[in-house]
Symmetry: C2
Subunit: 419 residues, 2 copies
């Protein structure tokens, strides 16, 4: 039932060797990706391990936007070594891959689909503990250091799915703002959009007391509980930070105050959505990322076509919040106000339009691609995108507004062009 | 390193039998006090245990404002039975007593003073785990359900001290707002003042990056770390709720919205101060409570003289924040504004006076006794009160402003009469 402890401060990742000693680690698995393996965050962590005489092995083959096969490769690596602690140094892809490696190495007899969310997988509950995982995030977006969720592309269905269990939540998140100084401009933008949508979606998610059915035994409560008084505090606070700092953080990689603030906003929004859940932007983002054709993402040093996660999430946000606003117009108006809109004369029924306009302006100023069209989709792709959204019921059911396949179709269509 | 999970909602305490089953409990210790043992919260918990066939024994001899001897009595009870899970149903006194009983039952060879904070005790770190503790708070004040702190009166020195270790933090806090409907008016007021001071003290505590010396190994960091970006969120949010709901919650026990909100504020402020710490109001409150002569507390059904904890804390608050304001005037002004002051024309150098006036007005409206004089103290008692504050260095060192014994003397003197 425990939550993740967070340690925050410039340079705190240099203490990780002592943390691992304190955990009694004898054989540590350090996971990262190829790019990061040459950059300062990984270097700082490895130096601290050496200095504190902690034995470790590095796995640096994590795939950016991981797939079932890249997960399985990392799982084999973990199974072939008897690691007692896992350390993930990277963005959401690295942390999520490390969660899966830890989980399946501790359950060597489980089939890969056993713990994957239904309907793609069997959604079995995780029985028994896994090894401690220390997460050192290097982007300011995922929030994965605080959540029990690991997302991947399930290639046979061309759709993202994931594993969701409190059991895989990291033990400790080491949030060292110096790490985010190595983020390229577009990575800062896209990961910031993930924070923005985590905050907006969790703040507008179906309230926790309106979810049904209500499980009779508390152990069967889902990881995503709907918006509630605790997640609200984090979601709203994260949104305030995004409004104040995101543009500065994207435009100037040397702006330590802004990048530090976005790093914390990522943690805060992570605690918020890890508790409340996300809904349509995330649910619809998975097929947008999964069906990618040839879009190549600026700033991401990868060889495969890619719609980065944060971008795939934010492109539908104006349409989504315009659609959900009638269910809780006050929250949509409050969000618009936090992002800078003057809402004094706005009627409740215009809440959706006002928030959507505010989001379009925010995206335009941050030079985001002009809608799904600009990342390679046409109207002909909409049926496939809708089809890929259907299995995301775990998140889409947290939308405050019920929706049909026609509604999803219209939301994708409205997101083809933004400006 | 783990934090407490919080479950919130009207009626959630009726699920506790299932939680205990899920924890595999075979022999549960339920701790409470004599008054509460006849009231609905204990009844709801016990009914749920019976319904889920969980074996338990009840200890209902917890002392309101516990002492070393009352702690030891509860510890013997725990040692004489092999409990595998502890459940505390009550206010801070009950939850703190239960933490101590769990701790020493799991360390049967430890001397009582081993884990007590230095300089009264030896302040040894707790090695090894204790049993799970589920806390069900029935007052809206302590925040003890979220912290690793247990406070008691050490009778040989007539001063409060405590045990502080992450190891004794509850596993699960069940926050059921229906329970607070049984709180008498003065209990609601005094526990609310505890929330107010938790929020104000943690928000103005010495910043985490100004504490010294900085421990070289993270395992040696104190439980109270100083104000930081995470505790700030909780402290400020709790203060907003106090400003909005406390008067309603005190005046109308049937006002479920207000009492629920204060119950949550208590949790939120608990997370804030459990992380950042408190400072002078709490440090000075311990001798105020410990040296009590004949004051009898309205609404508390106890046979001994008593200055309730929240009252002993709040009586010095106008003097304390007037004293600390020069170190961080913005935060003091912000607090005054949240409590309702118009600060638009106020100069930074007047921050302390403005917050002190606001607090006096707040206390007056809630019919608080008129200063230390009204609870039985005279100027002649000041040396004893100062002497009782000295051993509270664990908290007083978190004051943003350094202070001498003369400063403490002046703060007690300024608190003799408030209005």
């Amino acid at each position: 039932m425990a939550s993740t402890s967070i340690r925050y401060g410039g340079g705190v990742s240099r203490e990780i060797g002592m943390d691992l000693q304190n955990l009694g680690a004898k054989n540590v698995c350090v996971m990262t990706d190829r790019n990061l393996s040459r950059l300062p965050p990984v270097k700082a962590v490895l130096e601290s391990l050496v200095k504190n005489r902690v034995e470790y092995k590095v796995y640096d083959a994590v795939r950016v936007e991981p797939t079932d096969s890249s997960f399985k490769d990392a799982i084999s690596f973990a199974k072939n070594n008897s690691f007692d602690v896992f350390v993930a140094v990277g963005g959401g892809s690295v942390i999520d891959t490390c969660k899966a490696a830890n989980l399946y190495a501790c359950h060597p007899d489980a089939d890969f689909l056993d713990f994957v969310n239904a309907p793609v997988g069997k959604g079995k509950p995780v029985g028994g503990a896994v090894k401690p995982l220390v997460a050192v995030p290097t982007t300011a977006g995922t929030g994965s250091e605080t959540t029990g969720v690991a997302i991947f592309d399930y290639e046979p269905l061309k759709a993202k799915t994931g594993i969701a269990s409190r059991a895989i939540r990291p033990t400790l998140g080491i949030v060292d703002p110096l790490h985010t100084l190595s983020m390229p401009e577009r990575v800062a933008a896209n990961s910031g959009f993930d924070v923005l949508c985590h905050a907006l979606e969790s703040y507008t998610a179906l309230p926790y007391d309106q979810r049904s059915p209500c499980p009779t035994n508390p152990i069967n409560r889902p990881a995503y509980q709907g918006s509630n008084p605790i997640s609200d505090v984090w979601s709203r606070h994260a949104l305030h930070i995004v409004a104040k700092y995101m543009k500065r953080a994207v435009r100037d990689p040397e702006d330590l105050e802004a990048r530090s603030s976005m790093h914390l906003a990522s943690v805060f929004a992570g605690i918020g959505f890890g508790n409340a859940g996300v809904h349509l932007c995330h649910g619809m983002s998975y097929p947008i990322a999964g069906n990618v054709k040839s879009h190549s993402a600026k700033g991401y040093n990868v060889e495969h076509p890619l719609v980065p996660h944060g971008l795939s999430v934010v492109l539908t946000s104006p349409a989504v919040f315009n659609f959900t606003a009638p269910m809780c117009p006050e929250r949509h108006l409050e969000a618009a106000e936090i992002l800078g809109a003057d809402i004094r004369q706005v009627k409740r029924e215009d809440a959706g339009a006002v928030l959507a306009d505010m989001l379009r302006q925010f995206l335009f100023e941050l030079q985001v691609e002009d809608g799904l069209g600009a990342v390679g989709y046409t109207k002909d792709d909409i049926p496939a995108l809708v089809k890929g959204t259907i299995p995301q019921e775990r998140v889409t059911k947290l939308s405050p507004r019920a929706h049909t396949e026609e509604d999803l179709s219209r939301l994708f269509e409205a997101s083809m062009k933004l400006y």
